[in-house]
Symmetry: C2
Amino acid sequence: MFKKVLIVDDLMSINLGVNAMLKNGYTQNVVYAHYCDEAILKLKRAEQDGEPFDLLITDLSFKEDHREQKLKNGEDLVMTVNMTWPDLKVIVYSIEDKIQRIRRLIHQYQAKAYVCKGRYGLKELEQAVAAVNKNSTYLSPSVETAVNGQEVNEIDDFDVLLLNELALGLSQDEISKQFKEKKITPSSLSSIEKRLNKLKIQLQANNSIHLVAIAKDMGII
Amino acid sequence: MFKKVLIVDDLMSINLGVNAMLKNGYTQNVVYAHYCDEAILKLKRAEQDGEPFDLLITDLSFKEDHREQKLKNGEDLVMTVNMTWPDLKVIVYSIEDKIQRIRRLIHQYQAKAYVCKGRYGLKELEQAVAAVNKNSTYLSPSVETAVNGQEVNEIDDFDVLLLNELALGLSQDEISKQFKEKKITPSSLSSIEKRLNKLKIQLQANNSIHLVAIAKDMGII
DNA sequence: AATAATGTTACGGAAACCCGTAAGTATTTA
DNA sequence: TAAATACTTACGGGTTTCCGTAACATTATT
């Protein structure tokens, strides 16, 4: 049983199903938030009142709105939550299926479960809640192997940064200079070439354009 | 009033809300399909039985499955429907917000309405159904201006083809040769360079990598 | 401490890209 | 039909990328 559960999702229709499931044996106290910023506020308030949440279920993608939001998406939210309330258990429930992003959520931001919205989404979410309730973790079968599989990729932060700059239209020379200014190593043109070459082999890209296209498809950038 | 409505969407939870809305004054006969191929079968069957559908509401993105599907996504479905049953009215209801794709759906495949899933999605969908019922059309406010606005872009099929080949990792020279084989004009390296140059100016890209990244973000490819 | 292994930087030449100019071809307009 | 316009192709040369080789620096191993 959970004492208090916070659900963050801007699409009402989905909340309904989740709510029914939770009320059916897992908790009596379900609170909703439709924006990430709103979620943070409710978490803070609950903490101040001495009745903190012990489970957070959140989507990843939120439609933008007229209201300015500090946290633009679920990944920002999970990151912030992990830094501020490291003990709060987090389940991500999203249509998103970019492996790299899911990896980040699980390994870097300590999310306890990741469930793909889909045909069997609700059923899987129920299993996820049960698992987290028992201090275990859960991953949708469709992403399980991909996330826990041996680190075939080994794409680190530097690689991601590099790919991002490339996708922003900077030349390799410009990236080199920029890295030197920001004291990011390695920064030589040669090293950048070498790193891109490694990535091209890993991701089986013919050239830099192909590389960025693949990286975008995989959700690395 | 509609005689028969087909809803295509693999996420049950969303269908519930839509169903409630429709039954509330628009139709008595709502049928569901969870796969695009299944939708086609039901459309054919209904036609054979002399009781064809007169409204189709569909999502765009479908999770893949163990079952092999000919039509992979909603865009394929809308295209096929438009070719096979040009009189069947189509409403697209999706989280997707890539302008170029929506443009294609409306102008090329004759979809009657496009509604963004979101905070006010159900409300907007209701307006869309009402509009289509009166032989009108409907677009979510958030995409309305973008779709109907003067063709700022002017990006044609050739441009899209070109960008696609580029994103697949072909060099400009390879693309030129391929176009010559396939009798696609213009095919000279020079023309391809020129066209890419035009696109870089239009989309404000620094180089080809940047160009492909932008095109992917905009949903052009 | 010496060696090995890995990571970073440097350099040179071939290939690809970028960009301007201009000639040739097709279409439109007067 | 002739002139004007737009489109396609060709070419040259500077820039960037690509790829191999190799020197230098740092870390790990024995």
